[in-house]
Symmetry: C2
Subunit: 348 residues, 2 copies
Amino acid sequence: MARRVASTTGSADLDARKATILEAVVTEHIDTAQPVGSSSVATNADLSVSPATVRSEMVALERDGYLAQPHTSAGRVPTDKGYRYFVDHLSEASVGSSQQRQISEFFAHVRGEVEDVLEQTSTLLSELTNYTSVVVGSGHSRATILSAQLVNLDANHQLLVSVFSDGAVTKHSLFTNYTASPSDVTEASRQLHALLLGTSLESRVQVPSRTDTVASLVREAVALLHAVAPTVDGEQVFIGGSSRVAEAFDGVETVRKVLAILEQELLVVSLVQDVLDSGSAVAIGSENAYEPLASCALIVAPVTIDGQRAGAVGLLGPTRMKYREALAAAQLVSEQLSRHLLREDERV
Amino acid sequence: MARRVASTTGSADLDARKATILEAVVTEHIDTAQPVGSSSVATNADLSVSPATVRSEMVALERDGYLAQPHTSAGRVPTDKGYRYFVDHLSEASVGSSQQRQISEFFAHVRGEVEDVLEQTSTLLSELTNYTSVVVGSGHSRATILSAQLVNLDANHQLLVSVFSDGAVTKHSLFTNYTASPSDVTEASRQLHALLLGTSLESRVQVPSRTDTVASLVREAVALLHAVAPTVDGEQVFIGGSSRVAEAFDGVETVRKVLAILEQELLVVSLVQDVLDSGSAVAIGSENAYEPLASCALIVAPVTIDGQRAGAVGLLGPTRMKYREALAAAQLVSEQLSRHLLREDERV
DNA sequence: TCTGGCACTCGGTAGAATCGAGTGCTAACA
DNA sequence: TGTTAGCACTCGATTCTACCGAGTGCCAGA
């Protein structure tokens, strides 16, 4: 398991007692949102030592950057590094059985287009956890093309409609500076279909080199499709429960900043991708590449089809979020979603 | 112009001085978010009377429900009825020239699919006004069908892909409890295309009554398309600048509630529709059918193509929003958008 | 190495005093 | 009759103080 921040200071594992204390502080702070004092740690965590002992350990933990004091004579609060240690040493937890049922129930009955499933999944995840959820559906560059056609909207404006084996349908406008007759378009559409059928967006396709209208249409349509394909443009982002941002923070300004981020799909995609690349399942506070997320944690679980990344599900909450439950929920949902999409895929 | 609330108490127009005072109170309160006192009205509004006179008028305005006092010995605040009067008697204002340029600029250069245009329009509107914007694109029930095809995803799962004259592309999954061979699907697709070409979703279509697989496929596909069409399902909603909700209110709880509403597309559509139906351009506070919007105002301007409602643009802000500017912006954008869509449409 | 004891810090809360914006009322005035 | 100046009054907001207590750091003793 990655321990990015912890490793930067070269610190090894904490000894058992420090670890227990850190865990107690994190747990209680997540629960109460208040600084945690030595005495409550001494009583709650079942190490039979006095508050004074806990205190001296806390001093050490603060020195090493795991804890911080809002001000003298207040309790301790975990730092990002403290949360990081906590998360990295989290005992695996499974989601509650009622939630488990809710998830199975959902995937057993959900039906319809992939987009709808992804959107509903994002709502599900948000309702399960009470955090804002993010579902990213990656492009369909691996899917094969089942159908491609050109539809004549206008003498200079055709619509390229493609259907993919994963059930996706895309449309792209093709504007030409020459005029194509309806019959040209029909013929181009026929050729295009024959040409692209069974290929994927990653395939090389032999386009006609002739210069007549039909050939030009075909050439431009293929180029259009292949040009747009590999960009992030293909990524679909679904945000669920954005109103929960307002539950997670109590400063209106923080809420505004976080919402502003969620509005930018590209940014969200890249944040999620960063977490996936980091090798960890969570980005905590300043680990997020984006400053306004300093008080947020982003949990991400990949969605795969046949071992291929097909997207990701994520949860965005405050750094003091309930990592154990949220991680478990994200993981379970991503697994089930992967399985669900695979099943859809295999039908082809 | 409608004066829904005002008319409920049977009150006629206010006399000139009361109107001036009310306007002054509303204007200042919108600006400062503070209760407005008699003296500042006396100096700012250019009726040459003393604060005492203003005061006695304010008493009357409060009695009639246009103003309210947060507590004794505070200034006055407009009620929803007060805002309503203000809005109904608003002098027409045009948007600033720099904004006007921004809007023309936008519509001169925007290109691509309708959905993209609508989404970008919503961003534009939000940036122009600093309020959260709503753009609703209505269904394409009037548009004629340019193409319809069935694509075989699976023995029991076909995808119905339709292309409309307005450039819209829809897809619907068709699950059958019988098995259709690829050639059946191809044939059904051919028939379907011939059958639907040139019709609109409102047209009656003569479906084959035979019971063979192909006919069944055709019949079910037509039914599927026509069943889904007239529902609100066809409405597309684009929210722009949802983070600005957090700017408009300072209670996190209010922000949460409003965001929660914006998450429900159907609700948003119906709210917008309500305003359109009301005959006014704005729903203020409790005029909104939905209680959590009691502190919000919703401005709506219809988008039309050929006199037909094709959607709407809206702005959601606090009741103390800048009505004049926001109304002007919404109106101008809706006009330009209508023109833009019409141009797209006429090309067909 | 741990612990109990203790002085100390400092944010939060409660209460009192004060301030002042704004009101309502009244009596006089045009 | 409508308008105005004057004035007492109200009440939220602000400031100040005192004080409480949770929590700390340190130290001496077990």
